[in-house]
């Protein structure tokens, strides 16, 4: 189907597993904040010191950054650059692509180091990759079986109109 390239669906179970995985990464890498973003810029989850952080904007800009870097990679004949690192005066950003479709962002300061973050991210990426694979399998089998109904299958025109009233 051309029209709606089927949605990206997140279920409770996988969401919890993801959060367990990135919270572990947060502890083990001594990071400040970790978030996961879909390549289209949708925030999937964020853990750590997120109170003063505009995570929605961060998600959108990260995806833009990955998209632009991906464009650069293709121009020079690379598939993608799977790791980006931005060094600041206090805080640093480590951005990597997990399972080909999700972006993992680690914000860390002098309490950690690039080496430690890289090491732990590598380990966590395998685990996250497995969760996203499970998620994709689940979505696929749901689609095949036609079992899980979209929460939007039953909405009425009135429901939609009410949003704009």
């Amino acid at each position: 189907m051309f029209a709606s390239q089927s949605s990206f669906v997140m279920y409770d179970e996988e969401f919890k597993r993801i959060n367990v995985a990135i919270e572990k990464l947060l502890r083990e890498s001594n990071a400040k904040v970790i978030f996961l973003v879909d390549k289209n810029g949708q925030l999937i989850s964020a853990v750590g010191e997120t109170e003063h952080l505009d995570t929605t904007s961060l998600a959108s800009l990260t995806a833009g950054n990955i998209a632009a870097t991906g464009g650069l990679a293709k121009l020079i004949g690379e598939k993608e650059f799977s790791i980006l690192f931005h060094e600041g005066e206090k805080d640093n950003l480590h951005i990597s692509i997990v399972a080909g479709r999700v972006i993992l962002v680690v914000i860390f300061d002098q309490r950690s180091s690039l080496g430690l973050v890289r090491l732990r991210v590598k380990k966590a990426s395998d685990e996250l990759g497995q969760i996203f694979k499970d998620l994709a399998d689940k979505a696929e089998s749901a689609e095949k079986g036609g079992g899980t109904q979209s929460p939007f299958a039953e909405i009425t025109d009135d429901d939609i109109d009410n949003l704009f009233s």
């Binding site: 669906v9 997140m10 409770d12 879909d38 833009g64 998209a67 464009g71 979209s150 929460p151 939007f152």
Partner: protein, 196 residues
Amino acid sequence: MSFINYASREINCKIVYYGPGLCGKTTNLQFVYQKTAPDAKGKMISLATETERTLFFDFLPLALGEIRGFKTRFHLYTVPGQVFYDASRKLILKGVDGVVFVADSQDERLDANIESMENLKVNLEEQGYDLEKIPFVIQYNKRDLPNVTSLEELRELLNPNNVPEYEACAMTGEGVFETLKAVAKLILVDLKKGGA
């Protein structure tokens, strides 16, 4: 591609404003930003040059309210309109759920509109989308200016498939919300049809 999160009971959709340079895409977003209640919007981000031309994109997250217990959020993006930013435009169209084409009604921009519409079709096809099948609305902007092309002519050249169309003046906000509502509605109807 919408993102349905059962864990946080949220649904996120992406709307892209497309059109030739200086047609008013950013102005559309700015007006929406100004007129939206603070709790319903996030920060607006503009990646622009020093002369306020869009360099990469503008971004505005909006929360519309709940449908059946799901928070609906729309992420509004604009593309850079200038011809030579084509590589960037392609990137921004990734994962789009609905498109608004903002046409510049001024006579001298007619060719630029047509070129941009063609460019939209080509770039969507590259991503595997068909403009005739995705939620799509057209806005004829700058209707308040003196040297505008007639609606009939714009319609004939830009809207052969009769998608919803709106006259607008983005500077004063006329037609801006009508356009946004129309595309949002089409997206939700599409979700309803397509299922998850």
